[in-house]
């Protein structure tokens, strides 16, 4: 009977012109978005490749130069576009793709895609994640809102009941028939994406298991929607009422809840403005050692401490250049200041994320969105990770440069220049995004909430079998 109901429902769906049209629209939209995103992905990665090579050539080709001048000359850390951003571009558009690494200062990432757009960018992009997160749930509603109400309205329910229909099997048949087309659409999209990504230049990051997880997350999201749609269709007296209720649920869970979560999170855990943030950093920097100022109180204290430590009377007697050493200690103080303030920002971000996660109880959209972005390496956590990695590289670079000056010059010596081949000795910046296992562990709560949504929605749906 499950099979018979499945076949019957699919036949009805296929023969319904409205369903065919909506299916066609969704397929065309998915095709178009995939085509657009592939072009974009290839373009950005080509730029990344060229910029990385060019920047390294510039760094290596500095010739004979003072290391501290090179530190101020700086270099760039570039973030590549990750393969699964083809499906979910997450916050990539709003965060920058490169960070300028220089002495004394931790810079923010820059050149975000959104900043390069006109005000029309506010309307958003047509992307696969938009179709997957918003349009397919709408398609589920369109396909299933009258799944049970139509039987009541047409009068077939009475005939079915008179034939002694097994409610449970009938419901499962209907469930599978609603799941099947959604499964097919999702499978086609993910399989096509996988084949395309497998054949594109992706810097060796793409792996099928991440894509499979992403696919499973979306399938779970759709299962929740299918259960809710069928539950409402069982409970509603008329198809019109069912449609209105389901559209309201879609608006609340997909549109209102994420925005409300954002407002609540921002009001409870406020992010400082750029100006406030910079002022706090400047204040803390001033309270510590300035590597360039030999007359400051902290510099004099450092001088005394080093002389005592080495048991000498003058800086000239030290086995290294004290000026470079002081610059390095100043760098370390500044790095600590940045670490402290960025830690605060991160804590605020984590608190905001926790609010989002707690609101995931009212919307299956939220855990799905978080998981989708995380697996695609396009979430804010990945960006933080990239930013921290770039900062670590900056600190190591400064130490590499300052140590060279300290080891190769004497106190008071001026005009030192490192050899032309010195710059090549600095390892290139290489960032690896978090591994899938780590991502899943970090998003354990989202996985649990999504799992709870599935159990809860299945419960709602199946425990109503006697009420048909």
């Amino acid at each position: 009977m499950i099979t018979k109901t499945f076949i019957k429902e699919i036949k009805e769906m296929v023969r319904d012109g409205r369903v065919k049209l909506s299916f066609l629209i969704v397929i065309i939209l998915l095709g178009v978005t995939l085509w657009i995103r592939i072009g974009h992905y290839q373009n950005i990665n080509e730029q990344y490749k060229n910029a990385t090579i060019t920047e390294r050539e510039v760094w290596n080709g500095q010739g004979e130069k003072n290391p501290h001048s090179a530190a101020h000359f700086g270099t760039y850390a570039f973030k590549p576009k990750y393969p699964l951003s083809l499906i979910d571009q997450g916050v990539d558009k709003y965060v920058g793709i490169s960070i300028f690494l220089e002495a004394h200062k931790r810079n923010e990432s820059q050149f975000s895609a959104a900043a390069d757009q006109t005000g029309l960018g506010r309307f958003g992009d047509l992307s696969p994640d938009f179709i997957l997160l918003f349009i397919i749930p709408l398609l589920i509603i369109l396909l299933g809102f009258n799944s049970f109400t139509k039987e009541r309205e047409m009068g077939t329910l009475k005939l079915l009941k008179s034939l002694g229909i097994n409610n449970w099997k009938w419901m499962i048949g209907k469930w599978i028939s609603l799941f099947f087309p959604i499964f097919i659409i999702s499978s086609v999209l993910f399989l096509t994406s996988g084949i395309l990504l497998f054949n594109l230049n992706d810097f060796g990051i793409f792996n099928w298991s991440s894509l499979l997880w992403l696919f499973l997350i979306y399938i779970c999201y759709y299962i929740v929607f299918i259960n809710i749609v069928l539950f409402v269709s069982i409970k509603a007296k008329k198809s019109g009422i069912s449609l209105v209720i389901l559209l309201s649920i879609w608006i609340i869970s997909c549109l209102a809840a994420p925005k409300a979560a954002s407002n609540i999170a921002e009001s409870k855990y406020h992010y400082p403005t750029k100006q406030e943030f910079n002022t706090m950093i400047m204040k803390d920097k001033r309270n510590g050692l300035d590597g360039h100022n030999p007359w400051s109180k902290q510099a004099i204290l450092l001088e005394k401490k080093v002389l005592k430590e080495y048991g000498v009377d003058s800086l000239n007697q030290l086995p290294f250049n004290f000026t470079a050493y002081r610059t390095q200690i100043g760098e370390e103080h500044e790095a600590e200041v940045y670490f402290k303030h960025y830690k605060y920002l991160r804590e605020q971000y984590n608190q905001q994320t926790n609010i989002y996660k707690s609101l995931a109880i009212i919307s299956p959209y939220l855990p799905t969105r978080f998981l989708s972005m995380a697996i695609s390496n396009t979430d804010y956590a990945t960006h933080w990770d990239f930013s921290d990695s770039a900062e670590n590289y900056r600190i190591k670079t400064q130490k590499f440069l300052n140590d060279n000056t300290a080891q190769n010059t004497k106190f008071g010596e001026r005009g030192y220049k490192a050899k032309a081949d010195f710059w090549k000795k600095l390892p290139a910046f290489n960032y690896n995004p978090p591994k899938l296992n780590n991502i899943l562990i970090q998003n354990k709560s989202n996985l649990i909430i999504l799992g709870a949504w599935i159990i809860f929605s299945f419960g709602l749906f199946l425990f109503n079998s006697k009420k048909i």
Partner: protein, 235 residues
């Protein structure tokens, strides 16, 4: 095969059915006549197990409908006034689906045989139900009953709205089923069709069975007279 013993259904203050006792044996067609609200549909709904009786018992093949709901449904077929089928499916697809619910699997040729036996022309087997007239839909309903091999048939005003030819064809079909031993209970307003096909006729009013006759023992004019008298109409 179809039996009710003191079957009563009360909605609030309203007695929809009051101590109904009737019996339809195999091969009999029992026609229940009565005005709207007389209790005919309530009787059928009770026999289908759609509603619970306030008191009394409804039996199909000596099994209580309410205690053996699934078992009794296996022996029943039901055709309502407006048999609604899936409009985007063809006659044969509808028959295949509904007979599948009764856990019976048939080949395409077997399904076609049921439709032929129900009086449907072969040319329409693969046409969508949305193009069917009411009479044709009722024939699909009969085919469902045939496929199910139902021992009891419950009909709720099945000829209402049918043209005389279609109504006549439907009556002939019932008689055919009757010869196969099917017990039929038909609620109807159609005195003429009741007289034509019924082996027994009952007249209901205000939930009570007021009169009962053997079909062959009463003329149409007498039946009409008794009916009108029962309904307190002046002829």
């Amino acid at each position: 095969m179809i039996t009710t013993n003191n079957l009563t259904k009360i909605y609030g203050e309203q007695k929809a059915l009051d101590q109904l006792n009737l019996r339809v044996n195999q091969g009999e067609i029992y026609c229940l006549l009565g005005a709207n609200g007389a209790g005919k549909t309530t009787t059928i709904n009770l026999l289908l197990g759609f509603i619970k009786p306030t008191s009394g018992i409804a039996l199909i093949d000596n099994m209580s409908v309410h205690q053996n709901s699934q078992e009794t449904k296996k022996k029943l077929a039901y055709i309502p006034e407006n048999l609604m089928l899936y409009s985007s499916l063809t006659a044969i697809e509808n028959l295949d689906y509904f007979s599948g619910i009764s856990k019976k699997e048939f080949s395409k040729s077997e399904l076609e045989t049921f439709l032929i036996d129900a009086g449907l022309q072969k040319e329409v087997f693969n046409k969508r139900i949305s193009t069917f007239s009411k009479g044709m839909r009722q024939k699909v309903g009969i085919a469902i009953a045939l496929a199910k091999d139902a021992k009891a048939l419950l009909l709720d005003e099945p000829t209402s709205g049918l043209d005389p030819k279609a109504s006549n064809e439907f009556g002939l079909l019932l008689q055919k089923l009757c010869k196969k031993g099917v017990a039929t209970l038909m609620a109807t307003h159609d005195l003429f069709r009741a007289k034509e096909v019924a082996t027994s006729i009952g007249i209901m009013k205000d939930g009570k069975l007021k009169e009962q006759f053997k079909g062959d023992k009463i003329s149409l004019s007498k039946l009409e007279k008794v009916y009108l008298n029962t309904m307190d109409y002046k002829s």
